[in-house]
Amino acid sequence: MSNEKHEKLVNLIADMEEDEALTLTQELIDEGAEPTAILDICRAAMDIVGQRFEDNEYFVPELILAGEVLDQMSAMVKPLIADTTDEEDKVDSGMVLIGTVHGDLHDIGKNIVTFMLDVNGYNVIDLGVDVSPQAFIDAIKEKSPEIVGLSGFLTLAFDSMKETVEAISEAGLREEVKIMIGGGQVDEQILNYTGADSFGLNAMSAVNQCKEWIGEAA
């Protein structure tokens, strides 16, 4: 069991060498590696991927592939883990509630933001697509997130976002959360129109906004 192999695995994942990464993962498992050690490797690799994404070296295809590799590695180690889940690690991290607003079914942008927030250590709860204002309100009450992210691709999302922000206000929850909006058509004008706190055009601006609001995640 060598740290050399661990480092190699980190680099294989970060360099998008899917097949080799999975082979080496299996090798480490066969050699008796601790599941938690492998999950640490994943995290370290994802940090590199996230950094490269921030540096415009990686783009969306790399994020998607990294996510796939991560899923496969998790599936490989999961049977070896008894009860402890890594969710607990994130209890103290900032929590972000995210969803595509009512009427809009697009989820690619939202998924990328979710991934990048996750990589950066935030505890992200993804409500999916076509999420009604009431569903956002229910989730805010139940989970008490610090931040709510509203995603939308179509122009109809302008009004859906506005309605969602208004409904959160009417439910008396507006002071408890910061609201950021994002998506293909969103800009400063729409920020004002919807009454949200911030808007962003890409996943990194979402991460930076979260850092600004609630600090670096644990």
């Binding site: 969306v60 690619i108 302008f158 004008q189």
Partner: protein, 418 residues
């Protein structure tokens, strides 16, 4: 206030508009900047209808289209005909949610991103695309196509085998599919026939068509309609060679009949809306390997066939500007959604006619004065010396207040491009 065009002879107007756009494409200076009208469902809003009304009643679709065109008096128009509601229902077309079919009555239809071809099937697609479509793809995208999976695999058959295999046509599922297709065919034919009459009416009233045909960037086609967005991205790593081979193949397939169709309707503008070429989505290297070469070839092929490709560059494509100027000058239209048109004019102004890009946010939530100011700036800077067509960033948004759209349409007559 300049006099309205509606007082003039339609034939003369038609000719003048056709030439204005043609000259603009050729990067020549014109009397004023042209404006082209396209939308999805703004016409419904204008006519106090829901989107669903126009999807389920071609007469309503036509009357609202007419109302919009007569109000805006554009230099060219695309008829917003989506009056296929009943046909979509009967066909049970899965990849779409539409007003009346899964979506609310007053919204736009949405395409559902889904993996419709698995990676193992690249070879089947490459080997015999139509067999793949008949036996696998079509049955997956609509209940009405399901029976086609029983269609005989003719190329493997000869002589008697062709005759025995006619048994397949006795299959009740295949028969049911044919029956459905005949019924759906009648519905779509009805809608298209009416719309064709309407387009003729508009041409006689002096309005040229803006779109003579559609095409796709090959990579987009594979992502949108075959592999889904996730599969399409993963394949850049996992099935790179197959993906590149399929991009090449899809380019050839997609070009089929596009030129012939455009010639038939007498309109050279082939519209190619792009989906996945934008900045931030794929890297410049990936863009230059998977996206641009095949798209560029499509553009060249269309230009060689005397067509004018109209490329809608969705999203922000700033980092692409340095690559995409590599096309014959004055032969195409680049329509940008979010890319800054000032920058674009500086980089591509002497290569390609630009189009766009009044933002949806402004059209939907701004004031008439804001719209005027924005259009004035575009006309004066981007329109300078010719080579610019005013349009929305993504045409006219469905929700835009009427006065904002009217202000935009009239701005080309108000502001000079010199």
């Amino acid at each position: 206030m300049t006099p309205k065009d509606s007082d003039r002879d339609p034939k003369e107007l038609y000719q003048e508009r056709v030439e204005r756009i043609a000259d603009t494409v050729a990067l020549k200076e014109t009397d004023r900047v042209p404006y082209i009208y396209l939308t999805r469902f703004w016409n419904a809003k204008l006519a106090d209808m829901t989107s669903k009304d126009t999807m389920y009643d071609v007469e309503k679709s036509i009357s609202s289209n007419r109302k919009a065109i007569e109000l805006l008096q554009p230099d060219a128009f695309g008829a917003a005909n989506y009056a296929y509601g009943q046909a979509l229902e009967k066909l049970d077309y899965h990849p779409l949610e539409w007003p009346g079919g899964g979506a609310a009555d007053d919204v736009c239809f949405q395409y559902i991103d889904k993996e419709l071809m698995v990676p193992d099937e690249y070879d089947e697609y490459l080997f015999d695309p139509t067999a793949f479509y008949l036996q696998k793809y079509l049955p997956r995208i609509a209940t009405g196509f399901e029976g086609l999976k029983h269609f005989p695999n003719f190329p493997t058959l000869s002589e008697w085998n062709i005759i025995y295999n006619l048994r397949a046509f006795a299959n009740p599922e295949l028969q049911e599919s044919f029956k459905t297709l005949m019924e759906v065919g009648e519905m779509v034919d009805h809608s298209m026939t009416k719309m064709t009459e309407f387009i003729k009416e508009m041409i006689e009233a002096g309005y040229p068509m803006a779109i003579g045909g559609f095409c796709k960037a090959p990579y987009d086609h594979i992502v949108d309609f075959l592999r889904g967005s996730k599969g399409g991205m993963l394949d850049m790593f996992r099935h790179k060679d197959k993906l590149l081979e399929t991009i090449d193949k899809a380019r050839l397939l997609l070009n089929t009949n596009v030129v012939e169709g455009a010639k038939l309707v007498g309109c050279p503008y082939v519209f190619i809306p792009l989906h996945w070429g934008l900045d931030g989505f794929m890297s410049p290297d990936q863009f230059n390997e998977f996206y641009w070469p095949s798209l560029r070839q499509t553009i060249h092929d269309l230009i060689d066939a005397e067509m004018t490709p109209v490329i809608l560059w969705e999203g922000d494509c700033t980092t692409r500007l340095e690559f995409i100027g590599d096309i014959p000058p004055g032969k195409a239209i680049y329509w940008f959604e979010r890319t800054d048109l000032h920058t674009t004019k500086d980089v591509l102004g002497d290569v390609v006619c630009l189009r766009g890009n009044v933002p949806p946010s402004l059209l939907n939530t701004g004031t008439v004065d804001e719209v005027n100011a924005y259009c004035k700036d575009l006309i004066e800077y981007v329109g300078k010396g010719g080579g610019f067509i005013l349009d929305g960033a993504a045409s006219i948004t469905d929700e835009a207040p009427i006065e904002n759209v009217v202000a935009m349409a009239e701005s080309v007559r108000k502001y000079a491009n010199k």
